[in-house]
Symmetry: C2
Subunit: 146 residues, 2 copies
């Protein structure tokens, strides 16, 4: 009784991205993009896999990795690298930046509109700017200047 109504919006998104709307991709997309379960999220492959398993979705870790990379390639996700040996995937693909809480390893979005970056040199000949990442690393402790 929940097999008959496909999540049409998600199906469309996947199709538009050239990805077959398979059972597992749909389930993962739902976890990632449906507002009630997610909204803006920063999630690792392991975490998403755990969520899927907890939600009675049968999907392998390999498929979670495959899907995350395919979604990223299709512009549905953005990969954020903050620490060596662990990748976060961000469901917010609009232009924005991040706070990173070093104690705890959590990420938080900083809207892109309010931040202005000036004085960057022009990229070398033959290259173009694919993306600019700004990561503000935070530690526990009050800032010193009063």
């Amino acid at each position: 009784m929940n097999k008959d109504r496909p999540y049409s919006a998600l199906v469309q998104r996947l199709k538009a991205a050239g990805l077959r709307p398979t059972r597992q991709r749909l389930a993962l997309a739902k976890l990632l993009f449906e507002p009630q379960s997610g909204g803006d999220r920063h999630i690792t492959a392991e975490q998403l896999h755990a969520e899927a398993v907890a939600g009675a979705v049968r999907v392998s870790l390999a498929t979670v990795y495959n899907s995350l990379h395919q979604f990223t390639g299709a512009g549905l996700l953005r990969e954020v690298v903050v620490e060596p040996g662990r990748s976060y995937f961000d469901t917010n693909v609009s232009d924005h930046h991040h706070f990173y809480f070093e104690d705890g390893g959590r990420l938080q979005d900083i809207p892109g509109e309010q931040v202005h970056l000036e004085g960057l040199p022009t990229p070398p000949e033959g290259t173009r700017v694919a993306r600019i990442d700004v990561i503000v690393r935070l530690s526990d402790g009050e800032s010193e200047a009063s």
Copy 2:
């Protein structure tokens, strides 16, 4: 005939950092910080280990990792994370940013003075900004706007 004159400047740097100037730390520091061999460098543990071995320095990979982390903790190096699963160590610890060439995986410094970042929100209560990383990711191909 090169054992008697210690690289006093490096010895001092290590001592000042609370690290014993051992044979291997000294050799690694030389590779990292001596202008002729290095200057501003972005290097991985594996690369540094290979250089050491090539230079007839007997040092284990574990010690290279240990030393890199100790140097980083002491403020002699800065760790730069650009891609999952690989850490670069930057011998330039002054305030600056990076170009990252996605095709090829190379890093290049962008001097900090010329870049201005405005409109960042104040960090949440109880935290302070440890560092701000700006990574401009470059792909091959000319920028589209003429």
